[in-house]
């Protein structure tokens, strides 16, 4: 026992490092840290040694070298003459594209599925349950393969569209061509284009910016209009109809801009052995997108179901007893409570989907793993750099998503108490 509280005035004995509550934690931490650093330096030393023996010290200069390979789906300018760094960027954008498309599709299907799962129609609810049990208990890679191969096996080849009496024909008034090389959909074109802005890394079309501006403006108007409606509801009790005005505010300016720019669609056309024009959603993209969506949807269905079911039945009953209608009960009482459970699960599913999109490499979709971790790695032989960079990029995507999640969770903690 310390008599006057000054630790160093006592005789310090070496054994106190272990048996004195004040130092023991420190001792343990320092031992762990030393062990960790030893292990770390051992590994690092091995790496440096091994790489030095092979004559390839770690450096990222290869990212500036000419890539020399083609990528079949590009969102920004890229040719075989571009650098490996640019190929990586193209791959990253492809990853983000398929992840984003997958998240959107899975969310829509998942919310619909979750609601149907809770439907009081036995058949529908069992059917959705069956879908969930089948899809989530089979590896996602297998689903990606099945989607990809089913697509390429069942869709007609471009050849079958040829001739006077073709075996296959285009859909939706000759605007969409579904072939085993991919789906060709119409592309937006402008007869009075405004050109591009050079952002250094890539170009952004001014038309796109204008349309975006219109949409944002429309959305701001919608918010204002809704606030006004709420104000009127607060004052008079009656909520004015806002739907049509909102719709017009969102759509009209965009339509006017589109007309002013001479918007028309470029339909894909069969030229020679393949389709030209339009936007090509390649077969690997479709296979990956479908596979990821169908698999992740099951988890979102479960999240929605569990979130809604977690709101006790008493809540609905109390609202019913107050005379509220089922739709309003859903939007004002049940969903706000369910969202607290659903949204964190949703975000973690987005994270999973993004990570699973790395399976692209199995079916040849040119995502980050196929470019940086695939062809670039093989061509440059820079395994260490390529894989570390790959992991770092994924890690930063994951961290971004976690930051969003934490922000949401903290905000939810603030509200309500």
């Amino acid at each position: 026992m310390s008599k006057n509280g000054a630790p160093w005035q006592e005789n310090f004995k070496f054994s106190m490092l272990l048996y004195d509550a004040r130092y023991r934690g420190l001792t343990i931490q320092i031992s762990v840290l030393i062990a960790f650093l030893l292990a770390f330096f051992w590994l690092a030393n091995n790496v440096v040694q091994n790489l030095a023996d092979l004559g390839k010290p770690i450096e990222f200069g290869f990212l500036g070298d000419v890539a020399g390979y083609d990528i079949n789906q590009i969102l920004i300018d890229y040719t075989a003459q571009s650098s490996h760094g640019r190929a990586t960027l193209v791959g990253l954008l492809n990853t983000l594209l398929v992840a984003f498309s997958g998240c959107v599709a899975a969310t829509i299907l998942g919310v619909i599925g979750g609601v149907l799962r809770l439907s009081n129609n036995w058949l529908v609810s069992r059917l959705v349950a069956g879908y969930v049990e089948i899809f989530r208990n089979i590896p996602v890679l297998l689903w990606i393969f099945v989607c990809m191969f089913t697509f390429t096996a069942l869709a007609p080849s471009p050849r079958e569209f040829r001739g006077a009496d073709p075996e296959a024909s285009m859909l939706f008034m000759d605007s969409v061509a579904l072939t085993n090389r991919g789906i060709y959909i119409p592309e937006p074109l402008f007869s009075r284009p405004l050109g591009n802005i050079d952002l250094g890394i890539f170009f952004v079309s001014i038309e796109l910016l204008l349309i975006l501006a219109c949409l944002i403006g429309g959305w701001l108007f919608v918010r204002k209009n809704n606030a006004r409606a709420l104000q009127i509801q607060n004052d008079t009790g009656e909520r004015p109809a806002t739907f049509l005005v909102n719709l017009a505010a969102m759509a009209l300016p965009t339509i006017i801009i589109l007309i002013a720019l001479g918007f028309h669609i470029g339909k894909p056309e069969l030229k020679g052995f393949n389709f030209k024009g339009g936007i090509n959603m390649s077969a690997p993209f479709i296979g990956l997108w479908l596979g990821l969506t169908l698999y992740t949807t099951t988890y979102i269905i479960e999240a929605v179901r569990s979130g809604i079911q977690a709101v006790s039945k008493g809540q609905t009953e109390a609202a019913l007893a107050l005379g509220m209608r089922p739709g309003r009960i859903m939007s004002l009482v049940v969903l706000p409570q369910a969202m607290r459970i659903i949204i964190p699960q949703l975000i973690s599913q987005y994270l999973n989907l993004t990570k699973n999109s790395s399976l692209a490499v199995a079916i040849g979709y040119m995502d980050l793993v196929s470019t940086l971790g695939g062809i670039t790695l093989n061509q440059t032989g820079r395994e260490m750099e390529a894989i570390l960079l790959l992991m770092a990029i994924y890690l930063s995507i994951s961290l971004t998503i976690s930051v969003v999640m934490n922000w949401y969770n903290n905000r939810m903690k603030l509200v309500e108490r």
């Binding site: 272990l18 048996y19 023991r24 934690g25 343990i28 931490q29 320092i30 031992s31 762990v32 840290l33 960790f36 590994l43 091995n46 790496v47 091994n50 790489l51 023996d53 439907s119 009081n120 129609n121 036995w122 058949l123 529908v124 059917l127 049990e133 089948i134 208990n137 089979i138 590896p139 996602v140 890679l141 297998l142 393969f145 099945v146 191969f149 089913t150 096996a153 990570k355 699973n356 790395s358 399976l359 490499v361 199995a362 793993v369 971790g373 790695l377 395994e383 260490m384 894989i387 790959l390 992991m391 994924y394 890690l395 994951s398 961290l399 976690s402």
Partner: protein
């Protein structure tokens, strides 16, 4: 007398409900046709379901089981059915099921090695019974311990003694720990135990193994890791990952829950790093980078490297499950253990972990399911898991053009395993919840 007075003299018996609210009709009305909207929904769904089944059922059940190749199948369709449609060519499953399940190494019927993975799996079932059914005798844990060595022996082959000598060393290390822990704090005795174990494996393994071989001279044809394939590979990676990751996961979970700043940060760093990257990048690390991290003298084959990285991957996820279990324990447990004078490791080992792990079992089972599904990723680095074998079969001239039959077979097996385990984990979860009340 009051005007409200009423006394029932004879009690009413139970009556039958109106006939349209019970039985088949009542059920249909309540569950399928309760409103106009519901009726429309039911009819639409029935119609869609019907049209899908009308196509799928004949495809499955009119399929051919007896054929040598896809073209042979097609000949049979043409001669047997005049409708010109194609049906399933299940012959590919009949031809290759043994490869898909047992892989190339055990898959050859003539060599008669089937029994090894089958027995290995049976041992696993015996091993998990004491964990799954707490009422079984405790001595079964011995079988669990034995399985840790018999399973690898049955899969990899070689001399039984080399596996048993490791077992002997581990038991010895356990005794070393018990003796040491009387004289020093647990963390150091654990450290010294590990040192003993490593030195033992390095220096004593060969002599002990030779000694055991004199008594138990059992030897199986040895199978190199890279030849393990098919579902045997998937299941082996899954089991190795779960079992080997548990100790690490427990340490990581305790570390992340601990008050010690550095320990907590290091554990968190490891867990978040691993959880932040896709498994495929870790598999790349295993097959491409691992050799750089180790001294030149160490020569790991790809299957072992993958197992190591999948183990680290699993450990991060299971650590989070266990952390949830630790957090769910009432703080009174820790306080009670402290008040009895138990030190940190005693409290963890005797009081906290047994309870936390019990709560964590459903989560660990779900993780096992995920790992099992994720093992399919090894096909990307050219290991022969079922999907890898399917690719090989599909590129064989006999079966070129086959798609769904093979994947349906593989999917069915995965589904049977994963579905039954997920049901089991849900059952456990329910049971845990009711046990607590």
């Amino acid at each position: 007398m009051s005007n409200y007075e009423f006394v029932r003299t004879d009690m009413l018996p139970q009556q039958e409900p109106p006939s349209d609210t019970v039985g088949v009709i009542g059920w249909l009305r309540a569950n399928l046709f309760s409103s106009f909207y519901n009726t429309a929904l039911s009819i639409t769904v029935l119609f869609l379901l019907g049209s899908v089944l009308m196509n799928a059922v004949p495809w499955v059940f009119l399929g051919i089981w007896n054929a040598d190749s896809l073209s042979h199948c097609r000949e049979i369709f043409a001669s047997q059915y005049s409708d010109g449609r194609e049906y399933a060519c299940w012959a590919v499953v009949r031809d290759r099921w043994d490869q898909i399940i047992f892989g190339y190494s055990f898959g050859n019927l003539e060599e008669g090695l089937f029994w090894r993975p089958v027995f290995a799996l049976l041992f696993v079932f015996v091993a998990i019974t004491p964990i799954l059914f707490p009422s079984t005798p405790r001595t079964l844990y011995l079988a669990t311990f034995a399985t840790l060595f018999i399973y690898p022996w049955l899969i990899w082959g070689g001399s039984l003694s080399s596996y048993l000598s490791i077992a002997v060393l581990i038991v010895a290390a356990g005794y070393v720990y018990q003796i040491l822990s009387k004289y020093m704090i647990s963390l150091f005795s654990i450290g010294l135990m590990l040192v003993f174990l490593i030195l033992g494996l390095w220096l004593l393994n060969a002599p002990i193994s030779a000694l055991i071989h004199l008594i138990l001279p059992f030897e199986l044809q040895s199978i190199p890791s890279r030849e393990i394939s098919g579902f045997v590979l998937s299941i082996t990676i899954g089991i190795v990952a779960i079992v080997a990751s548990l100790p690490l996961a427990i340490l990581l979970a305790l570390g992340r829950q601990s008050d010690l700043f550095i320990v907590k940060k290091l554990s968190t760093l490891f867990i978040e790093l691993i959880r932040g990257v896709p498994l495929i990048t870790l598999i790349f690390v295993a097959t491409v980078l691992l050799k750089y991290f180790l001294p030149k003298s160490v020569n790991l084959d790809p299957v072992l490297s993958v197992m190591i990285l999948v183990t680290l991957f699993t450990a991060a996820y299971i650590a989070e499950v266990i952390r949830g279990g630790l957090a769910a324990l009432p703080s009174g447990q820790k306080e009670a253990a402290d008040s009895l004078g138990l030190n940190y490791w005693q409290a963890q080992r005797l009081i906290i972990l047994p309870q936390a792990l019990k709560i964590s079992i459903p989560g660990i089972v779900s993780n096992f399911i995920s790992v099992l599904k994720d093992t399919t990723l090894v096909s990307i680095v050219a290991l022969n898991d079922p999907l890898g074998i399917a690719t090989a079969v599909r590129s064989h001239t006999d079966w070129n053009g086959i798609v769904w039959e093979l994947y349906a077979f593989i999917a069915l097996i995965f589904w049977l395993m994963c579905f039954s385990m997920s049901r089991y984990s849900m059952y456990l979860e329910r049971k845990l919840r009711t046990d607590h009340h």
